[in-house]
């Protein structure tokens, strides 16, 4: 069998080995398995899509990216840790298969067809990475390059979307008769917008329609785009572009990937690449290229990954920390950061009115905003994608923990004046948003454990009861449930301060109370 691994070789061994399969049954199909990998069309029982995705990942890590960083750390049991310097920098040697976020996250974005922003300094491989994704989707490199939209200050909507046919402009008697020559990139399954923060504001709005609603509109003509994975790049996402990116467009970005620095120990590899004129996108092995049908199947498979209730509950607990702002309103429902923002009130003035709460412990005090529905949906989608990539079919807490900083990177705005960042050792978290969000998630999980919510969550018990439906619930039972809700609220109101998670629980209890009240009224009417 092969001894070494040439460039075009894609690992035939399982890339994330699981338990050994049962005893082998001899099958004539094995005749065509051998040194040439993946020779069978995948729709006829070829490599499963998660295996193919991992093969693509490992090919990129081993051949295309010169110095990958393993920053998504997974551990299988005990691992070694070393501490360096005065800042006590920890170096973990992961005991499990760990990944490079710069390679993995664009690949997961490819699998779930969302919108990925690659940020980092010039020449760090943002555009190259996006082009690789286009090649993985089966497009020739030239077509990917031609389809890439380069943001520049003179970019017009016509540059972006297309032009009306000149003859139609002269002869048309109505708008319906004007045909548009749409730009080819609109029909591609991988869309790349290079330096999107250099696009003028008006053109950004046109881009928003394509990016957000998946269609383009010009002179009353509509072009429906296929589902696509988007890759946007920006040298400096913190306002360094030519134009300010409109907030709606920023909000549509699902995941942010940071390019990490080049490790100078790999300079020799760089030299070889220069001398030999090697362009990784030109030599992507065909066996890791996904057909349209395969990407469809992969997406469906990812969506089939299960998110167990206990993990979902922790995500709820984490997400509930941020929106609540007690002094923002009088009525409970409006006590949110969004209320304060819409009113244009200085956030810090309001936050300063909050008294009696532990500002270090209150995770909500670290952010200026809460999480949108879109952000929460994206967390779940990418958590499923990561789980799928790792060859599992049930999301684990660690998958959520690893993915959440990248999805919420631009969604959760830190309050740099928060007391938390003043605490010893936390100053760097003002800058390092990935570590900060991961710390937030860890702290939320620790609080969740401290409150013993896995075992003792009265709201969850009521939710389970309610989820069984109201049909057949007697008046007596409905009244008993109402009393139960009122008792919980009475108990909580005695001494507990309102924190974000309690706020959400109280609102949920109010909701359940209202549903039972209405049900009772209906029962009595009947």
């Amino acid at each position: 069998m092969p001894k070494a691994t040439p460039f075009q070789h894609v690992s035939e061994a399982p890339t994330h080995p699981g338990p050994k399969p049962a005893a082998k049954v001899f099958d004539v199909a094995d005749l065509y398995k051998g040194p040439v990998a993946n020779v069978q069309p995948s729709q006829d029982g070829g490599a499963p899509m998660d295996e193919k995705l991992r093969q693509a990942y490992f090919w990129i890590v081993n051949h295309a990216i010169i110095s990958p960083h393993y920053d998504l750390e997974y551990h299988d049991g005990p691992h070694q840790t070393f501490t360096f310097g005065d800042t006590k920098t920890k170096v973990n040697l992961p005991s499990g298969q760990s990944y490079s976020s710069f390679v993995l996250l664009p690949l997961l974005n490819f699998a779930v067809r969302r919108r990925c922003l690659l940020v980092g300094g010039p020449g760090r491989g943002k555009t190259s990475s996006a082009i690789l994704m286009g090649v993985l989707a089966g497009y020739p490199v030239k077509e990917v390059r031609r389809g890439m939209q380069h943001g520049q200050p003179q970019m017009t909507i016509s540059d972006l979307l297309g032009n009306p046919l000149p003859a139609d402009l002269v002869n048309a008697k109505s708008m319906d008769e004007i045909h548009i020559s749409w730009r080819r990139w609109l029909g591609m399954r991988v869309k790349i917008i290079d330096e999107y923060n250099r696009i003028p504001t008006r053109t950004q709005s046109a881009l928003l329609t394509v990016l957000g609603d998946n269609y383009a509109e010009l002179l009353d003509q509509i072009y429906e785009c296929p589902d696509a994975a988007w890759y946007l790049t920006a040298n400096d996402d913190a306002g360094g572009g030519t134009y300010q990116v409109i907030e709606a467009l920023r909000d549509r970005i699902d995941i942010v990937v940071k390019t990490l620095h080049f490790n100078n120990r790999f300079l020799n590899e760089l030299l070889t690449r220069i001398e030999e004129g090697i362009e990784p996108a030109e030599v992507v092995p065909p066996q890791i290229i996904f057909t349209g049908a395969e990407t469809e199947r992969m997406y469906t498979d990812v969506m089939d990954v299960a998110l167990p209730p206990e993990i979902r509950r922790r995500m709820e607990f984490f997400a509930s920390q941020f929106e609540f702002l007690e002094p923002a309103a009088e009525q409970l429902e409006y006590k949110t950061k969004d209320t304060a923002k819409l009113a244009g009130v200085d956030f810090h003035l309001l936050a300063a009115q909050e008294t009696g709460k532990d500002r270090l412990k209150d995770l909500g005090a670290q952010t200026k905003n809460g999480l949108s529905v879109r952000a929460l949906m994206t967390v779940m989608i990418f958590a499923k994608a990561l789980t799928y990539f790792r060859g599992n079919r049930v999301v684990a807490l660690e998958d959520v923990r690893q993915i959440i900083p990248f999805v919420l990177h631009d969604k959760l705005a830190p309050d740099p004046d928060a007391l938390f960042f003043e605490a010893p050792g936390n100053a760097a978290l003002r800058i390092d948003r990935v570590s900060w969000i991961r710390r937030l998630f860890d702290l939320a999980c620790a609080e969740y454990d401290r409150l013993n919510l896995d075992k003792d969550d009265p709201v969850a018990a009521l939710e389970v009861e309610f989820a069984q439906g109201l049909q057949g619930v007697t008046e007596q039972e409905a009244r008993a449930r109402l009393v139960k809700i009122e008792r919980i609220l009475a108990e909580w109101s005695k001494g507990r301060k309102l924190y974000g998670h309690i706020y959400d629980d109280v609102l949920k209890l109010k909701y359940l109370h209202q549903r039972y009240t209405n049900y009772l009224k209906w029962l009595m009417y009947k």
Binding site: F7, Y32, V36, I278, V283
Partner: protein, 340 residues
């Protein structure tokens, strides 16, 4: 010096092809540019030209695939002068040009699958890769497309000595167009045959039945249908004379050091290393053998002097396997028509 369509394709994409070679060499420093150039000249060019002859528009795509695969295989010493698998080298040189119609249709699938098949046949003791390679051109004439050719090739592999594929190959025959299935079984589609399903059922029931004698001949008698396995010093598997046990339709053979599953039929026998506890293996069989080497099967019996003093025997419904203390071979006895 290269010329013709392949040379034009290489010229048109020179920088890309050069970069691929450079990258492959970075990882495989022993990859010799002269040897690779010779491989392209002597082997790949013929295949590309053959593809160009049948479908010129597909020649470039085929050239890309063949270039990549040849680079890959040369780097791993499956191709080239240092190859340990001469049948792969021969297959690329003489077989692939004859599959041009199918390579044009699905280059990677056909070239990759053919290479893998030649590799598997080369590494399976007792299999006959040359016979398999010779059978494919006959299939070319009757197969409408590449997937059919590849499936028919699987059936042909069974006939080329891959006994462990017998049942799944016969199942595959049911899904093939009858002329293709008959050709894959080594029969002429023009000749008279029983219905394909009947033929397949007969072949499944009796591993010693040849497809061209679809029913047991009336004069069948007990005979040694095969003698498989040998001393390791002579290229076989066994260090000591082996012992044999029944294992369903197959047999388990052990020399005390290793254990193998033996699968045998009219086209050959294959051994597969297995981790099986032999003490638990028992089965009833219509075969018996006595100390003098006389084998009985129902009312038929025959004496085999070379099997006298057999130290182990195991039978199933069609075959008796016998070993003796003086031989490293396993004798297989069955009812068969002509003496083999």
């Amino acid at each position: 010096m290269l010329s013709g369509p392949f040379a034009q394709i290489l010229e048109a994409n020179r920088s890309r092809f050069n970069a691929r070679f450079a990258e492959a060499r970075r990882i495989q420093p022993r990859l010799d540019p002269l040897i690779f150039a010779e491989c392209l000249r002597s082997t790949v060019a013929q295949v590309v030209e053959a593809v160009h002859h049948v479908r010129p528009e597909k020649a470039a795509e085929a050239a890309e695939v063949l270039y990549d695969l040849s680079l890959d295989l040369l780097g791993q010493e499956f191709l080239g002068p240092n190859s340990r698998y001469p049948f792969i080298v021969e297959g690329w040189r003489f077989l692939l040009p004859r599959l041009s119609r199918f390579i044009a249709e699905a280059p990677r699938e056909v070239v990759g699958s053919t290479t893998n098949a030649l590799y598997n046949l080369s590494t399976t003791p007792g299999a006959r890769p040359g016979e398999w390679a010779a059978s494919l051109p006959k299939l070319v004439e009757v197969c409408p497309d590449a997937p059919t050719l590849l499936r028919a090739g699987q059936v042909a592999a069974w006939r080329a000595g891959m006994a462990h594929y017998r049942l799944s190959a016969l199942d595959l025959c049911r899904d093939l167009p009858p002329p293709v299935a008959l050709t894959a079984l080594g029969l002429s589609p023009q000749a008279k045959h029983p219905p394909l399903d009947t033929l397949i059922d007969s072949l499944k029931a009796n591993p010693w039945l040849h497809p061209d004698s679809h029913l047991p001949p009336p004069t069948s008698h007990l005979q040694i249908v095969s003698r498989v396995g040998a001393f390791r010093g002579f290229g076989g598997l066994f260090l000591e004379p082996p012992l044999v046990w029944p294992a369903g339709d197959d047999f388990v053979v052990s020399d005390g050091e290793g254990t193998w599953l033996l699968m045998a039929d009219v086209f050959g026998a294959t051994f597969h290393r297995a981790d099986i506890k032999v003490s638990s293996l028992k089965a009833s069989s219509p075969f018996t053998i006595n100390k003098a080497g006389s084998v009985s099967f129902g009312k038929t019996s025959r004496a085999f002097p070379e099997l006298a003093n057999a130290n182990s025997s195991a039978g199933n419904n069609t075959t008796l396997a016998v070993t003796t203390p003086l031989s490293h071979a396993v004798y297989l006895i069955a009812l068969a028509g002509e003496e083999r």
